[in-house]
Symmetry: C2
Subunit: 333 residues, 2 copies
DNA sequence: GTGAAAGCGCTAACAA
DNA sequence: TTGTTAGCGCTTTCAC
C-alpha cells in the first residue's frame, strides 16, 4: 500500500496525497478531507525510507553517550527524546559502555542512516571520526570540548559558578581541608571540572593540596576506591567534592561501611543531581546540572547547525547550581 | 558520492560495487579488491535509506519500554543494543515514561521507519495498535502477556520458581507473616507476579492474607507509600517481597528513616537484581531476572518472526532465581 | 564475472 | 488547484 494506491482510491494524483500528508496549503480543503479519509480508512503508513532517500536526510538525530546505566545519561535521554518526539524526529542512540572503540562504529551506523546531526555526550573523540562527519556535512554537537568550527558546536558546562557556590558553602561550614574525586583523567570534561574545583578552592582562600586531588571513573567503584585511599591518609580532608553523583554514592557507601557518619565525620558534595541523589542516605548535597536544560541546548544547537550545511558552530553554556541537602554539615573540630 | 561514482572511478558498474559491498561471491577477487580500495579512498558511506527502500525493511528493531530511568530497563537496553550492534542492526527506542498515550505514536513512528520488528517491554497495549502491526506484518514480541499468534510472540517471566525459592528462604528463616508490594495493578505483568507470590505463600503452608497484598507502582515512591501503610497496620508482617527492586529501595528507605533496622525488624526481598541492589544498604536479597537472557530471548524471538511474514508466534520463558544478600534474616520473635 | 536497466515510494518542479 | 514526471541511491533480474 503506497501513496499511489491512496491516490487511486481518492481519485487524485499521488502528488496530491503527498501534499495532504505534508500539510500543504495548496490543496482544496474538500479534496484534502477526502484524501485524509481514505488514508484513515486504509490505515496507510507512509514509507519513511522513501522520503529520507528523496530528501537526503532522515529527520532523526544520533545520540552517543558513554554509559546508559548512569542515571545522569538515562535522564538526559528521556529529556532529549521527549523534545524530539514532539518535533517528530527519531533518536538513534548508541551507548559506548566504556568500549571507546564503539565510537567509530556507532558514528558510521549513524552516517549510513543519514542522521541530521549527532549529539555527542561521550568522553573523548578522535579527530578521524570528526573529519568523516565534517566531510559528510553531518552537524556535530559536543559537550565540554570547547571547540567549534563549521558544522561543529559545543556545549560547555559552566562548572565554575557551581563549584564556587559549593566551596563557599563548605567554607562557611568551617571546612579547610577539602578533597576532590574526579572522573577518568585525560578527558577534557574531567579536566575542566577539576580545574574549576581548584580555582574555587583558591578563591575561598584555601590551598589546593595535590594529595587531595584524586582520580575516579564516574562510577560508584571509583568513588569507593578513592575514598578508601583517602581514609588511609595521615592527614584527612573533612569534606569531599566529587565529579558526579555516582562517585559520591561510592564515597557514601564506604563511609557507611566503615562507620563514619555523614556529615558528622565528612561532608560530601556530589555533581549532577540525579534523581537518586534525593533518595539515598543521607540525601546528597550536589551541584545540579539540569538534564532538561542540557537537552534543550543540544536540540537548539543541532537545529541551528542543520539549517545550513556549513553553518558556523557556536559555543553554548549551561550552568550548574548548588542544591543543599543533608550530606554536608559543620566541619568536625 | 554514491555507488555510481565509486563504480566510475573503479571502472566497473554500480551493480558490481553493490555486490562487493554485500560480499557477493560472484565478483572476481581482483575486481573486488580494486573496488574496495576506491571505497576506502573515497570514504564512501552507503545510503541506508536507499537500501531500506529497496528491501522494504530497515535492518532495525523498535524497542518500547515503560521508563528508561528504571535501571532494569536501561540495563536491558544495553544488552539488547549490544547484541544487535554486532548483527549490524539499529535500535529505535521509545520510552513511555508513564504516558501510556505515547504508545500509539511510538509504534507509528517505528512503522514509518519500517522496523523489522518491535520488542515491547511496556505495560499494557491496546488491541488497536497490535492490529495495525499485524496488518502491516510487523513482528511483535511482548513480555508476560502470554498471548501469541501469527507474527506475535511472547516472553513469559517464570516468576514461579523464583518466588518459591524466595518463600522457602523466608520460611526457613522463620517468617510466617509475609507481605507483597506489587506493581501497578491491572497490568498483566503485575498480576502474574502477584499470583506467583500467592501461590508460593500457600506452597510453604502459609495463608495469603489479603491485607498483606499491597499495590505499588514499580517505583521508589510506590514502595515508600506501601511501606508506610504497612507500618501503620496493627498486625504487621515480618517480611516483604516486592515486585521490583525500585519498590524495595523505597521500602528500605522508609525503614531507614523510621529507624527500623533491616533485616532485624523486617526482611526484604526485591525482584530484578539491578546493579544498584548490590550497592544500597543493606545489599538486597532479590530475585534475579537476567537482562542478558531476556535480551537474548527477545532477539531470538524477533529474528524467528522476521524469517517469514506470518510465522507463527512462540511462547518463550526466562527464569528467575534467588540471590541472597543481607536484607533478609531470621524473623524477629 | 560483469553490465544495463527497472523499480522500490516519495517529493518537487513544471505543466495544465 | 491538481496532475505528470523525473529522479533520490540501491539491489536484482536478465543479458552478455
Amino acid at each position: 500500500m503506497d501513496q499511489r494506491d491512496i491516490a487511486r482510491i481518492a481519485r487524485v494524483s499521488s502528488a496530491t496525497v503527498s501534499r495532504v500528508l505534508n500539510g500543504s496549503s495548496l490543496v482544496k480543503p474538500a479534496t484534502a478531507e477526502r484524501v485524509r479519509r481514505v488514508i484513515e480508512k486504509q490505515k496507510f503508513i507512509p514509507n519513511g525510507s522513501a522520503a529520507a532517500l528523496r530528501y537526503g536526510k532522515s529527520s532523526s538525530y544520533g545520540l552517543i553517550i558513554p554509559d546508559i546505566t548512569n542515571p545522569f545519561f538515562s535522564e538526559f535521554i528521556r529529556s532529549f527524546q521527549e523534545i524530539l518526539a514532539v518535533k517528530n524526529r527519531d533518536v538513534l542512540m548508541a551507548s559506548l559502555d566504556h568500549h571507546a572503540s564503539r565510537m567509530q562504529e556507532s558514528i558510521r551506523r549513524m552516517m549510513v542512516r543519514r542522521v541530521d546531526g549527532i549529539a555527542l555526550l561521550a568522553a573523548e573523540i578522535e579527530s578521524e571520526p570528526i573529519e568523516a562527519l565534517v566531510l559528510n556535512r553531518v552537524p556535530l554537537v559536543t559537550m565540554d570540548r570547547r571547540q567549534t568550527g563549521p558544522g561543529l558546536s559545543d556545549i560547555a558546562i559552566n562548572n565554575v559558578s557551581g563549584m564556587n557556590e559549593a566551596l563557599e558553602h563548605l567554607r562557611a561550614l568551617g571546612h579547610r581541608r577539602i578533597a576532590y574525586i574526579g572522573g577518568d583523567s585525560g578527558l577534557t570534561i574531567s579536566d575542566h571540572r577539576r580545574a574549576a574545583f581548584i580555582k574555587a578552592v583558591k578563591r575561598v582562600g584555601l590551598a589546593a593540596d595535590p594529595a587531595f586531588l584524586r582520580e575516579g571513573n564516574y562510577r560508584i567503584s571509583g568513588g569507593e576506591k578513592a575514598m578508601r585511599e583517602i581514609l588511609a591518609m595521615k592527614t584527612r580532608p573533612t569534606a569531599l567534592v566529587t565529579a558526579n553523583d555516582m562517585t559520591a554514592i561510592g564515597v557514601l557507601r564506604v563511609l557507611h561501611q566503615t562507620g563514619c557518619p555523614v556529615p558528622q565525620t565528612f561532608s560530601v558534595v556530589g555533581f549532577d543531581d540525579i534523581e537518586l541523589s534525593d533518595v539515598i542516605y543521607p540525601p546528597l548535597t550536589t551541584l545540579r546540572l539540569s538534564r532538561q536544560d542540557l537537552a534543550d541546548t543540544f536540540v537548539t544547537a543541532l537545529e541551528a547547525l542543520s539549517r545550513g550545511p556549513r553553518t558556523a558552530g557556536k559555543q553554548y553554556t549551561v550552568g550548574t547550581r548548588l542544591v543543599i541537602r543533608e550530606s554536608t554539615g559543620p566541619a568536625p573540630r
